[in-house]
């Protein structure tokens, strides 16, 4: 065994060297250049660091849409909260929807610390000024939809979220680690619901195939159209790491075999893996539908936003009340 005292001195590298862009004395262009070098070189940014407006705006827009999606993503499943068919399913679905509210909280906290108050973000969402993910603009028809949402919509989301755990914006990256940890159970819950229906009665088996048929189109649109990596500013700033197509390919690679192994048929005759390249071919998703839906013209967009507006207004007095009641202090 090596005598530790005989080792040559190995002094630890500084975890975080001085960040020149935090130096107020430098002019803006120098700070911008240092910041860009830091971020593109793999460096992390904290909320208290100086950052160019372009970066702050880009992270805020990205995180705010993510937070909005968690908050609006609550609503389709919430419609089935009171209908879950067993005690365990009721508990699991309640806990899952609760997690989504919790994730909205975590993400709005990240966005708030970038300078936009939560009330302003909620108001912009309710006014239709900011967006949320396409999949949450669609109706739900059956308990089977809940299984497909919990399994496949969450799986597609996790593929994207896992790629965000190394985001250059450190508070977002840390939050994504916590969210991915919490969401791992959602997929298990969803897959269990789907498997139970897929091995159930004739009507149950039919319901799960119908649900897959309904959701496949929106699922293929979910990560967005193919885009040019070189032109993607979010990738340049390392806010995110992967393009839409990379995420979609990853999703298909993992989930197509899992869907097929339980006897479900994916409603896309062009879906095929090229064994030579490892790339999935698929029928072109309807990008017009995606654009229509995410601009709040989807089948349930207006109804769900109105539901949010109504409930936000109905609870305004509670928010006012806790701020006007005398402060309490916790005692140990």
């Amino acid at each position: 065994m090596t005598d530790p005292l005989a080792l040559d001195p190995v002094l630890p590298p500084r975890e975080r060297s001085a960040l020149p862009f935090n130096d107020d004395a430098l002019d803006h262009d120098d700070r911008y250049r240092h910041f860009e070098e830091h971020v593109t070189g793999g460096g992390k940014v904290e909320a208290t660091d100086w950052m160019p407006d372009e970066y702050r705006t880009a992270v805020l827009r990205f995180v705010e849409m993510h937070a909005n999606s968690e908050l609006m993503g609550v609503l389709p499943e919430r419609e089935w909260l009171m209908r879950a068919p067993t005690l365990r399913r009721k508990l699991a679905l309640t806990a899952k929807v609760q997690d989504e509210v919790g994730h909205a909280q975590l993400l709005y906290r990240v966005a708030e610390d970038l300078g936009k108050p939560r009330e302003a973000m909620v108001q912009d969402l309710l006014d239709g000024k900011t967006k949320f993910h396409n999949v949450f603009h669609y109706p739900t028809y059956s308990w089977a939809d809940i299984g497909i949402i919990a399994w496949l919509v969450d799986a597609a989301a996790i593929v994207a979220q896992q790629a965000l755990r190394d985001s250059s914006y450190a508070p977002y990256a840390r939050t994504m680690k916590k969210i991915c940890w919490e969401e791992s159970v959602h997929i298990m819950h969803g897959r269990d619901v789907v498997l139970t229906l897929a091995t159930g009665t004739t009507a149950q088996r039919a319901s799960i195939q119908e649900a897959l048929d309904r959701w496949w189109g929106p699922l293929m649109q979910m990560h967005g159209p193919r885009s040019d990596r070189a032109k993607d500013r979010d990738i340049h700033w390392r806010i995110k790491a992967k393009t839409s197509e990379e995420l979609r390919q990853e999703f298909l690679g993992i989930y197509v075999p899992r869907i097929r192994e339980i006897g479900l048929t994916i409603p896309d005759p062009d879906l095929a893996l090229d064994p030579a390249t490892g790339v999935w071919a698929y029928g072109e998703p309807d990008w017009n539908e995606l654009r229509t839906v995410v601009t709040n013209h989807g089948p349930k967009s207006e109804e769900r936003l109105q539901f949010r507006r109504d409930n936000w207004a109905a609870t305004q007095w509670v928010r006012d009340a806790i701020l006007s009641a005398p402060r309490a202090e916790a005692v140990a």
């Binding site: 908050l71 609550v74 609503l75 919430r78 089935w80 909260l81 009171m82 209908r83 879950a84 068919p85 067993t86 005690l87 365990r88 399913r89 009721k90 508990l91 309640t94 806990a95 929807v97 609760q98 989504e100 509210v101 919790g102 909205a104 909280q105 709005y108 939560r118 308990w143 139970t196 159930g200 009665t201 009507a203 149950q204 949010r308 409930n311 109905a314 609870t315 007095w317 509670v318 928010r319 006012d320 009340a321 806790i322 006007s324 009641a325 005398p326 309490a328």
Partner: protein
């Protein structure tokens, strides 16, 4: 004394429940389980639409706790009645008139003040009931109650915090709380209304005090809190003979919704 006739339609539910004492135990377990089940559903309606995000998560945890308690209590009932029904069958497969929850829990979810008023009245009454079960002679119930009481501590902290805030905020907040209490308080005592077989439960030590004694203790405690907050005095229980029967349209609507999926394919695995 509650009208035993109100429970007669349920006699058929207890074929396997043995002698009079077992039947009284089964009624106790079923009424407690149904209380937790129904308030769990009411509270879970807030999931996703709570007044602030952090509170939304908190009320959902309370709902999940209550549903978990219901699940455990139905589990004890399964062993007590032993007629082949599992916990889900007890929870889901009865007609609305077969549920034994207290009338306090029969109201619409309502606004946040209704939820806090209901939670306050129910949680304090439930805590008094659990206290009288902490030394129960029925070992499985005693063991379960010890665990439930540990979880209910947070429930009491949470609702105490909120009722004080709503009362102290004055203005609209206080007015809404007072209105909610006007609706709910006449039904609050239904949680502790005596069950048929009350005497047998006490005689066998399943419950360590008569419900009338538990209720008096609870009224003293709630009365003191209401006086300190300047809230109206708790009224006597309205229509005490139908404390757990004759359920409202609000409950029937909830029942129709919560059985919808399960009834769509009777006997299927979900």
């Amino acid at each position: 004394m509650t009208d035993s006739a109100a429970f007669e339609p349920l006699a058929m539910d207890f074929d396997g429940a043995g002698d009079g004492g077992e039947r009284a135990l089964a009624l106790l377990l079923l009424s407690m389980a149904d209380d937790e089940f129904v308030i769990g559903f009411s509270d879970s309606e807030w999931t996703g639409i709570g007044p602030i995000l952090e509170e939304d998560v908190a009320i959902s945890s309370l709902a999940q706790d209550e549903l978990g308690h219901a699940q455990a209590l139905y589990g004890l009932l399964v062993n007590t009645v032993a007629d082949g029904r599992d916990a889900d069958a007890w929870a889901y497969d009865r007609p609305p008139e077969g549920y034994l929850h207290a009338r306090l829990l029969d109201h619409h979810r309502g606004d946040w003040a209704m939820t806090i008023a209901r939670r306050y009245l129910y949680d304090t009454a439930d805590a008094a009931r659990l206290e009288a079960l902490a030394g129960s002679s029925h070992q499985p119930l005693r063991e379960l109650v010890a665990k439930i009481r540990r979880e209910e501590r947070y429930h009491l902290m949470h609702v105490q915090t909120w009722i004080e805030r709503l009362a102290d905020a004055g203005g609209e907040s206080r007015a809404r709380l007072v209105a909610a209490l006007a609706t709910l308080a006449p039904d609050a005592g239904t949680v502790l209304a005596p069950l048929p077989g009350d005497e047998a439960l006490v005689r066998r030590g399943i419950v360590t005090e008569a419900f009338a004694t538990i209720e008096a203790r609870w009224r003293d405690a709630v009365g003191a809190t209401f006086r300190s907050l300047g809230l109206p005095t708790l009224p006597p229980t309205a229509d005490p003979d139908h404390a757990r029967s004759g359920h409202s349209d609000a409950f029937r609507a909830l029942h129709a919704e919560l059985t919808m999926v399960r009834q769509s394919e009777v006997g299927a695995t979900w």
